[in-house]
């Protein structure tokens, strides 16, 4: 079965990283390859600066990659011209981390959700109004809330609005870029459950980008670990969390605070200075590590 999303040797080099002086090119994403099968949730974890967010944006061409190949449903996304890309965009969408800055504060939330339908010239005005009402109910909001403005909603509700907008065009693939990390703990679980419900109901495929390792383990089938632009380990949640092969993955896992008082694990240090990029090797079926 062909994967829905196939990323091959993706590279993103930012030419001038410095504000005051030109710096040598920084490889934010360095030779990254992975595939996501239909209906799967693939988790991409790493610390700030690891390149996980840039990878997600390159796949959607919100940032133009320097080189590499991204196939979506068998088509080469990077080869699409501007108008083809616009048309293809309805199939892959993104939900951003910050529900406070990602919604236009001057637009009614109903119009925010309707906007992609207008841009893609979907249906009549009446059709679109009906679709927006349907989307509001799909994400657990009341259709009567359509005429309100973003500031009238809590963080969790705003993230539901962002999700309704992302789903307006019936995409098959959604990049979730830290979708719950700006939310309070008690609200995170509601939004995570909604994401799981929608995936089941609509047959969605997710790329879930997060730094919360406990959450990634809970909801992702397979996980990729990024470090300094490189994918250092890929495997099932069990491969990565129980049989971590890369020293960085082990260090990362040992840093997670334990929820049982007194049961602190010994931290495993990672020799950052000694890190050299290595190709991924298959250690066990489906479990790859760059060692």
């Amino acid at each position: 079965m062909t994967p829905l999303v196939n990323v091959q040797r993706l590279v993103k080099q930012f030419a001038h990283g410095g504000l005051w002086r030109a710096r040598a090119g920084v490889r934010a994403v360095d030779d990254v390859s992975f595939a996501i099968t239909r209906g799967e949730t693939f988790g991409l974890v790493g610390e700030s600066g690891s390149g996980k967010t840039t990878t997600g944006r390159c796949i959607l061409r919100l940032i133009e990659p320097t080189s590499g190949r991204v196939e979506f449903d068998g088509r080469d996304v990077l080869a699409l011209g501007a108008s083809e890309l616009r048309a293809a965009r309805r199939h892959f969408q993104i939900v951003f981390q910050d529900p406070y800055s990602s919604l236009n504060p001057r637009m009614r939330v109903g119009d925010i959700v309707e906007e992609p339908l207008v841009i893609h010239r979907q249906g009549t005005r009446a059709d679109r109004t009906a679709r927006v009402a349907e989307l509001f109910e799909l994400v657990g909001l009341s259709r009567d809330q359509r005429r309100q403005y973003p500031h009238e909603f809590s963080g969790g509700q705003r993230q539901r609005i962002g999700l309704a907008r992302a789903l307006a065009l019936n995409p098959s693939f959604v990049v979730l870029d830290e979708p719950v990390s700006a939310l309070d703990v008690s609200v995170q679980a509601q939004v995570v459950n909604l994401l799981l419900d929608l995936q089941q109901k609509l047959g969605l495929t997710y790329l879930f980008i997060a730094h919360d390792l406990r959450l990634v383990r809970q909801i992702c089938g397979r996980i990729g670990v990024m470090y300094r632009g490189r994918l250092v380990e890929v495997g099932t949640a069990a491969d990565v969390f129980e049989r971590a092969a890369h020293p960085y993955t082990r260090a990362l896992l040992s840093a997670i605070p334990r929820l049982s008082p007194g049961a602190r694990l010994e931290r495993i240090p990672f020799d950052a200075a000694g890190f050299t990029p290595q190709p991924l090797k298959e250690h066990a079926p489906g479990h790859f590590a760059a060692v």
Binding site: S48, P257, P261
Partner: protein, 342 residues
């Protein structure tokens, strides 16, 4: 040259008297329309000498307003309306601003989530530590310079003599947090208030900072008031935990007791909604959201979100029930002496 170790204040003999004894602390904020609402409502807790108390809550629970009230940094439209804050033999609630300035930074140090709030961007790290030493009359000139480097060394800033001449923006997030901890410890306070000290950091850097705080606590015989929303951080660091919701402490217990037998439905919900090892599963969510200030219900603030809600929950704020000698729960269902779950 004195080593960092020898600078630590001599260990105080165990005393039954807590270092910080807060009772009835209430801070209100003026809302539109002339109404006032209590962001912190009749809050009482103690922090013992050498003890770490974790103050846990979500945004809007009142935990940061509690911290600012303790050091009397509440600005209008906020106003502290009541309470006693006994610290080292004086009631901070009654001190004038002049006297308060001798406590702030000198006897009570602070560590914030965002180091750039505490660090002045136009002065070097070393200058800021030296200035603190001079303001509090602890050292001047070459002695202050030596002491600044020692402090940076104590918080494990590599190459401290050179780093002392760096400006805050030249440091990474983790090093900046270390510099802020050095600054907080400069005047050898007995209490450090750390408000979400690791929230903005990556998990590996967080682990280093938590290890450092643990070491500093021992080395400097510190008491720590650790404010966080992260129960993992609390489990690792705190001796006791106070859980806040709707401006009140709803549960207070020894850390092991809280994690083993959470007594308040809110605490139970917070623990239950954390992702655990059961893969592929839905999470147990708490319905609803934290209401904004001014819209908290009379009675138990958590009642509208609570699965065990009864009519009496909405009638009056429940009192604290001692389910054990070290464990108080503010819930009508809590049974005195039961030691556990309602």
């Amino acid at each position: 040259m004195r080593s960092a170790q020898s600078l630590a204040s001599t260990v105080t003999a165990p005393s039954s008297e807590p270092l910080l004894d807060v009772s009835g602390l209430t801070t209100v904020f003026a809302l539109a329309g002339g109404r006032e609402a209590a962001a912190v409502n009749n809050v009482s807790f103690t922090v013992g000498r050498g003890e770490t108390l974790g103050l846990v809550g979500e945004s809007g629970s009142g935990k940061s307003v509690t911290a600012l009230s303790l050091i009397r940094l509440i600005q209008p439209p906020g106003r502290m309306t009541g309470g006693r804050i006994l610290f080292e033999g004086q009631d901070l609630a009654r001190l004038d601003e002049r006297a308060m300035r001798r406590v702030r930074g000198r006897r009570i140090g602070f560590v914030f989530q965002e180091p750039m709030i505490a660090l002045n961007p136009v002065y070097t790290i070393g200058f800021q530590i030296r200035e603190t030493l001079e303001v509090h009359g602890l050292a001047t000139g070459a002695a202050a310079r030596r002491r600044a480097i020692e402090l940076l060394e104590a918080v494990r800033v590599p190459d401290p003599a050179r780093r002392a001449d760096d400006y805050p923006h030249q440091l990474s997030g983790g090093l900046r947090q270390r510099a802020m901890i050095a600054l907080a410890l400069t005047a050898e306070p007995s209490l450090v208030i750390a408000d979400e000290p690791t929230t903005a950091l990556d998990v590996t850097v967080q682990a280093e900072i938590l290890d450092l705080l643990r070491d500093m606590r021992r080395q400097f015989s510190l008491s720590l008031l650790l404010i966080t929303h992260d129960l993992g951080v609390v489990a690792e660091m705190a001796d006791r935990v106070a859980v806040m919701y709707g401006g009140r402490i709803v549960e207070q217990a020894a850390t092991t007791s809280l994690f083993a037998n959470p007594g308040h439905p809110y605490t139970q919900g917070l623990l239950a909604c954390l992702p655990e090892r059961a893969a592929g599963g839905r999470l147990t969510a708490i319905p609803g959201t934290v209401p904004p200030l001014g819209q908290w219900p009379a009675g138990c603030a958590f009642a509208p979100r609570c699965a065990h809600r009864e009519p009496r929950c909405e009638a009056a704020v429940p009192g604290l029930t001692a389910v054990s000698a070290t464990h108080d729960v503010r819930c009508v269902l809590a049974v005195a002496g039961a030691g556990g779950t309602p």
